[in-house]
């Protein structure tokens, strides 16, 4: 079977295009799937996380996946970040050091993920000179996203991540995708609330709402992430089931996608030129915590 992929940007239309591919291929089994990327004139590298998740799912259904007619500019970036090495190409050196490699993790790979973030993101000399406070907050946010996938997705097929730094734009994009049950289903099973997919995402990012039940409390991860992004002047996008949710400059946009994504993608844009210190002005005493 042959499918065509349009340009993939880090926005609602980009997710919609990947979901369309997922929908077209979801019933394929023992098939040869050729994805024609001749019309893919642009591919935002962090979207490899969501794309990789969809392709991995095709592989789990014992399909043979081939990416064909890849344009040189797209092939270049997707070879540098290692994505195409999963599909028969060689990795090429990233002399500018602007890619954050594509990786797949299992839910028990917390340590491996932490090493990846430290090695590929935090300790790279090519990374922008972010303030220590911003670096710390950024690192924590990335780990909150991964923890969220580990704790809530129930994925058995893994967690996928990829990123890209844009020096001229002072922007760093990073995405984490999972092939789990999605936020809507998670909220429904744990609280009985049957939201529309986009409303379930909004609910999960608000106040003290949590789907956690049992002995370990929850409900802070996505809220902390949203607070940081608001302060930083960046942007966060969440795609889960057929819901799309975006928060930028304190404003949120929610929309319904034409078909469901088979899991959840959390995507952040970090403003690397942010000079806030993130040092708290109010002193909190160690004696005043409990």
């Amino acid at each position: 079977m042959k499918f065509s992929l349009p340009e993939i940007r880090h926005n609602q239309a980009g997710f919609e295009a990947l979901i369309t591919l997922q929908e077209q291929t979801k019933d394929c089994l023992f098939d040869d799937i050729a994805i024609d990327m001749g019309t893919t004139g642009w591919f935002d590298a962090d979207m490899c996380a969501a794309f990789g998740a969809i392709l991995y799912r095709m592989g789990e259904n014992l399909n043979t996946v081939k990416l064909t007619n890849i344009r040189p500019n797209v092939e270049n970036i997707l070879s540098k970040n290692g994505f195409l090495s999963h599909y028969g190409r060689e990795v090429i050196p990233d002399h500018w050091g602007t890619t954050i490699p594509y990786r797949r993790f299992d839910v028990k790979d917390d340590r491996y993920f932490a090493d990846y973030i430290e090695t590929e993101l935090m300790r790279r000399s090519e990374m922008p000179a972010m303030s220590p406070g911003l670096l710390k907050k950024f690192r924590e946010s990335i780990f909150e996203i991964f923890s969220n996938a580990v704790l809530h997705s129930r994925t058995e097929q893994g967690i996928f991540s990829c990123g890209q730094f844009f020096p001229a734009r002072h922007q760093l994009d990073f995405s984490v995708a999972d092939l789990g049950i999605g936020i809507r289903q998670n909220v429904k099973e744990n609280t009985g609330l049957d939201f529309a997919p986009e409303d379930a995402i909004a609910w999960a990012t608000e106040g003290r709402n949590t789907t956690k039940r049992g002995q370990i409390p929850g409900g802070l991860g996505l809220k902390l992430l949203g607070e940081f992004i608001d302060l930083n002047g960046g942007c966060i996008q969440i795609t889960s089931d057929a819901g799309y949710w975006r928060r930028e400059k304190g404003k949120t946009v929610a929309a319904r996608l034409s078909q469901p994504f088979p899991g959840t993608v959390v995507s952040v844009e970090i403003n690397t030129a942010d000079t806030q210190s993130y040092v708290l002005t109010s002193e909190l005493s160690e004696a005043d915590i409990f």
Binding site: L193, G207, G221, L284
Partner: protein, 121 residues
Amino acid sequence: MSQNLELSIFEIVGSPLCVASSDGQKVHDRLAAALREGRSVMLSFHNITTLTSAFLNAAIGQLYGAFSEEQIRSLLKVQDMQPDDLALLKRVVETAKQYFKDPQKFDQAVQEAQGDDNNGA
């Protein structure tokens, strides 16, 4: 036998990155064992560079499900924390207190959302 126990998170986790709920569980298990025996615990965050709410919820937040606020306040102390990490821990603790002490409020939040949902339907 010492009544006062000092636990190093770095020693328990073996890394400056305290991000996984499963690592938080290891810290929790030692803390809970000590608190059950009525021992005072000084929990050191020395050399810890990164914390997540998932780690702290597992390590400390879940203590509020088994011990009273008074027990925890009198027996557990923390040290060597940076101000922003202290602020995160405080939020985790406040969330945990609500989660365990006032489950009705959590349920109420759910019911309110359900009401909004129904109204909007």
